[in-house]
């Protein structure tokens, strides 16, 4: 005996209407329900450095657990292996998922040459 299965919303067999006008893909992961998410931003990267020697690199902890300790170990690595590199550890202002501000990034632009941002978890 066979059964006719007519519909399913679980697949393209659903007959659902795809809205092609909206192609923005929400991020996978992100904040818990009720915690606001940052809006997408457009940006350009500055030109890469030829060398890190004698440069200041900001190590920015975004706020996930363990990130600050990781940056401290990274700072130690630079001090032992590339002592001419100055590293500055900072925690990203605002929540890990949203509401950033410009203070830290203005400081980085003024005093820094590069940023290592992390650690996601």
């Amino acid at each position: 005996m066979t059964t006719d299965v007519k519909y399913s919303v679980f697949s393209l067999e659903a007959g659902r209407k795809v809205m092609e006008s909206d192609s923005v893909r929400p991020a996978i992961g992100g904040p818990p329900p009720g915690i606001p998410r940052a809006e997408p931003s457009t940006f350009t990267f500055s030109k890469r450095l030829e060398t890190l020697e004698n440069k200041t690199v900001y190590l920015v902890d975004i706020g996930f657990g363990g990130g600050y300790n990781f940056m401290m170990r990274l700072q130690k690595w630079f001090s032992e292996n590339m002592p001419s590199v100055t590293t500055v550890i900072k925690r990203k202002p605002g929540r890990v998922f949203a509401d950033d501000n410009h203070e830290l990034w203005d400081e980085v632009k003024e005093k820094g040459y590069a940023v290592i941002l992390g650690v996601a978890g």
Partner: protein, 424 residues
């Protein structure tokens, strides 16, 4: 991991470097090993990749270094019918396609879907919600007929259908892409509870009541249809959460409650039928009754254990508990008890601030000067803080069959309440 990271349009242009997991809680030598070791995605040296990324020329204005942002997938032309097959083969097909919750489903034949559609006055082609499929990247419209398919699969009777349509219309997913173990809960208020036989009494949370079981399951099947169950693509919860099989679907025991029902608290009329949504991580069931302390104190102690995120809590208490709190302990309304909890549930500052999610999500508020967090941040470690500082976020639900004065506490935050009557 790379494809997942790049799926976020905000992050896609960034160059990513990976270390082994976890980072949190690791000793210094382990973290040193991560830095000196290899990227599990590329097999290359982590520190080497960091230095290369900072010194390698940028290839485009987006700054991408070797990786392209994920492109939104195009929808193929829709088809309507699956071919006829045997029951066994179709059950296997539905499971293998990832369209189920792992349990067998009621196959959505045309006849069954048609019967389900009789449960609402709305036209089959009426759009219920606009959903985003987390798996395929498509944004699409869900019609009444689409939701009827889910309702059939869950095992619903047509009279349950307005509740399921209301759930779909809310746009909430019961599943989360978080690596943590998110859980969800839904609760029904108003006349439809009794019309469709929802259980708000003995065993309301137990697997004994068809309406509770099926309506809660339908929410997860709906979430699955939106792509939330694709393991290691969308679903990353390390342990998962079995509450999501039926999302603790209950009705409030309005008849036995001494207090105002939740939907009235939220601005609906008592004779309106409403479904409300809650989300969080954690539920603690009372191990037994209150013997040497008052019930109010026992619940307060239990709530003191878990650091509150934005003051959110949901207490699900048996009608016997509500009655005792009102008649013996003087809490005339739910709000009275929420206020008392807010003033009396305490946690040492050190324990609060050293909790991972508090540090991650609340410390930034303190740094910005948001009160009371900014003041709490200045307190000595042993100072006690009332972490449920906003009584409006302490929700109380009365549910149970009066066979024992028990309760559950959860960190669940209230999401929203939506009308069921609209979908009759």
């Amino acid at each position: 991991m790379e494809s997942v990271a790049k799926s976020d349009t905000r992050a896609a242009p960034l160059p990513f470097i990976y270390t082994p997991l976890p980072v949190i809680g690791m000793a210094d030598d382990v973290l040193d090993g991560y830095i000196n070791g290899n990227d599990p995605d590329t097999g290359k040296s982590v520190i080497g990749e960091i230095i290369d990324t900072l010194t390698k020329p940028v290839s485009s204005r987006t700054g991408e270094v070797g990786s392209k942002p994920v492109e939104v997938e195009k929808a193929a032309a829709p088809q309507v019918l699956l071919g006829p097959d045997t029951e066994d083969n179709l059950q296997r097909l539905f499971y293998e396609k990832g369209w189920t919750d792992g349990l067998p489903v009621i196959l959505p034949t045309e006849e069954r879907v048609k019967k389900m559609l009789a449960g609402t006055s709305h036209a089959p082609d009426e759009v219920v919600c606009q959903a985003f499929n987390m798996d395929t990247g498509e944004r699409f419209q869900c019609t009444v007929e689409n939701i009827a398919v889910v309702a059939v699969m869950a095992g619903a009777r047509p009279e349950y259908f307005p509740v399921i349509l209301a759930i779909a219309a809310s746009g909430h997913s019961s599943l989360s892409p978080s690596t943590t173990a998110h859980a969800s809960m839904l609760m029904v208020n108003g006349p439809i509870r009794n019309e469709i036989g929802m259980n708000s009494g003995v065993g309301a949370f137990s697997p004994v009541s068809m309406a509770n079981a099926v309506i809660g399951r339908a929410w997860t099947l709906l979430s699955i249809s939106w792509g939330y169950a694709k393991v290691r693509k969308v679903l990353w919860s390390s342990q998962g959460n079995n509450y999501t099989y039926n999302n603790m679907c209950i009705a409030e025991n309005e008849e036995k409650s001494v207090w105002e029902p939740l939907h009235v608290q939220k601005g609906f009329k008592a004779d309106e039928s409403v479904v409300s949504f809650f989300t969080g991580w954690n539920v603690l069931s009372s191990l037994h009754c209150a013997a040497h302390r008052t019930i109010g104190e026992e619940i307060c102690l239990q709530l003191s254990v878990i650091p509150a995120l934005n003051s959110a809590a949901t207490i699900m208490m048996d009608p016997l508990v509500a009655r005792t709190l009102k008649n013996n302990e003087g809490f005339t309304t739910k709000q009275d008890y929420s206020r008392w909890i807010s003033e009396n549930a305490m946690i040492p500052a050190e324990r609060y601030w050293k909790t991972d999610y508090i540090d991650m999500l609340v410390a930034s508020e303190a740094a910005k000067g948001v009160e009371p967090y900014a003041s709490w941040k200045k307190l000595p470690d042993n100072a006690l803080i009332n972490h449920y500082h906003n009584p409006d976020n302490v929700n109380i639900i009365v549910v149970g069959g009066e066979s024992s004065p028990l309760w559950k506490t959860a960190d669940y935050r209230y999401g929203s309440s939506v009308s069921v009557d609209k979908w009759r």
